[in-house]
């Protein structure tokens, strides 16, 4: 089980959280002009990296707020936790 540090509440057990998958997927604003392939790409395609990964978590059994975590998907070690709106270190930095 992971120990997750909610940026609002502090370290809590993983069972208090709901994982929201890959972070940084922005809903397109010009959907009417997009091809089916571009739309499929937004809805279904994921990077699924082996290594450094930006992901969303929601502290459903605590403050109920969403935040971004940076985790290594091989070791499951967290690099950092970031509130919504805070700058998140990009991949490769």
């Amino acid at each position: 089980m992971l120990l997750i540090s909610c940026p609002y509440c502090g370290p809590r057990a993983e069972t208090e959280f709901r994982n929201g998958g890959e972070a940084g997927i922005v809903r397109p604003t010009r959907s009417a002009e997009m091809s089916d392939g571009e739309w499929a790409n937004y809805v279904f395609t994921r990077t699924n990296p082996k290594g450094r990964f930006h992901e969303r978590w929601c502290h459903v059994q605590g403050c109920g707020r969403w935040f971004t975590a940076v985790r290594d998907t091989v070791s499951d070690d967290f690099e950092g936790f970031h509130k919504v709106g805070e700058p998140v270190p990009e991949n490769g930095r």
Binding site: L2, N48, K50, E55, T73
Partner: protein
């Protein structure tokens, strides 16, 4: 290849079983092959076998990063069944079931396929409605499946607790009598032995580090043992499919999760069939060695760590013990995780990619073992002809663009 028979057994008994030949060679990779298959698990080896057997293409290499069957082939709970809801899935999984039924004879290798029956429990009104619907759909597709009352379920599986006092009482069950189990690593070994005897090169401890693509066409693989030219490439890398496909510049609709299983100490035969409960998440059978084989769920987050959270195992064992209180003193021997590549609709992806000559067979998620023979058979056809077999045609990557999903996720509401 020495064929196994009563005579070869007797002959080798005379020499103390010291003269049995190796099952397969360990050749040096050749500079070029007609087909290179990435991944030496059950699906990859079955693909190589049927390429050689059905399509007479024997200039084939199977490249495996570790050892044969060391990935998900050796990590699953060995369950075989074909009672899927949708027509496309029923066709695919029942194709596999028919091949399972003759597989030991076909391979001259005992894969210990045992049609002991797979019983799927229903615990609420919704379960009962879904179960009835699935049974009707199965029957229309020629797949056996029957509805049992709780009493009939207990008669079929005496350890089952059908008390009305448990938190999620058993309200009924679906039974596929043709379903059962097979010895998972024997499946890999049997296919490897068969493929090798027809000339397929099985190259273990060889990691693919890159896919060479020239003008939109895959021409070979970079490996830890040098470049290997390939006419066609089949990627059968299970949990690492995203990693391999990204080497060819392709992003897939896949997410990889750790899925756990565990086994108990071996005991005398006590459990006659396979029981699955999707609703309270319990999967259990007893191996021929005597261990209870228990399947747990996936973690909620993407990971390649091959281990999962203890709370996932705890959740599964709570369900197992409510259904089978007699196992409360059993000691668990080992638990492990495998990395499963899950698609948005929980159905596999078998077919072409935007890169010419680069084909994928992935996305089997939490339930690929049961499909091993069928998956290999249709993927061999795809690699040999360049076009999908009618059975895997609906399972192409394009379904995520045109919207023709095969949504077994919604059909079962959980993993398979």
């Amino acid at each position: 290849m020495t064929r196994f028979s009563i005579f070869s057994l007797a002959k080798n008994a005379m020499t103390g079983h010291s003269k049995w030949p190796e099952y397969w060679r360990s050749p040096e990779p050749k500079p070029a092959y007609d087909v290179v298959i990435i991944g030496g698990g059950g699906h990859g080896l079955a693909t190589a076998y049927y390429l050689a057997k059905v399509h007479k293409i024997t200039n084939v290499a199977v490249i495996e990063r570790g050892w044969l069957g060391g990935g998900n082939t050796g990590r699953n709970t060995t369950i075989c069944r074909s009672n899927y809801l949708y027509d496309e899935s029923a066709a695919l999984y029942d194709h596999a079931m028919k091949l399972w039924e003759g597989l030991s004879t076909e391979l001259n290798y005992n894969v210990m396929f045992s049609q002991r029956g797979v019983m799927m429990l229903a615990h609420n009104i919704h379960d009962m409605q879904v179960t009835r619907r699935t049974i009707h759909a199965n029957r229309l597709n020629g797949v056996d499946n029957e509805l049992l009352t709780p009493e009939q379920a207990k008669e079929f599986c005496p350890p089952l607790n059908i008390s009305k006092d448990i938190r999620y009482p058993v309200m009924g069950a679906a039974l596929q009598r043709r379903g059962g189990t097979a010895r998972h690593d024997a499946v890999a070994w049997g296919y490897a032995r068969g493929a090798d005897s027809m000339g397929v090169d099985i190259i273990q401890n060889c990691e693919v580090t890159g896919i060479r693509v020239e003008q939109g066409r895959a021409v070979g693989v970079e490996t830890s043992r040098g470049f290997i030219k390939a006419g066609r490439i089949g990627c059968v890398a299970a949990g690492h499919s995203s990693v391999v496909a990204s080497m060819a510049g392709i992003q897939l609709p896949l997410e990889s999760f750790p899925l756990q299983a565990l086994v108990s100490e071996p005991v005398k035969p006590a459990f006659p069939c396979v029981v699955m409960s999707n609703t309270i998440h319990a999967y259990i059978s007893q191996s021929d060695k005597g261990e209870l084989v228990i399947g747990a769920g996936t973690d909620q987050f993407i990971s390649y760590s091959q281990r999962g959270g203890m709370q996932i195992i705890e959740h599964t064992l709570e369900a197992i013990l409510e259904l089978f209180p007699m196992f409360s003193r059993m000691r668990m021997l080992r638990s492990w995780g495998g990395i499963v590549d899950v698609t948005p609709d929980r159905s596999p992806i078998i077919g072409k990619t935007p890169v010419e000559n680069f084909f994928i067979n992935c996305g089997w998620g939490t339930g690929g073992f049961k499909a091993t023979p069928g998956s290999g058979h249709v993927f061999a056809h795809t690699l040999a002809t360049g076009e999908p077999h009618p059975i895997n045609a609906p399972f192409g990557l394009e379904r995520f663009v045109n919207g023709r999903l095969i949504d077994e996720a919604a059909a079962a509401a959980v993993a398979h």
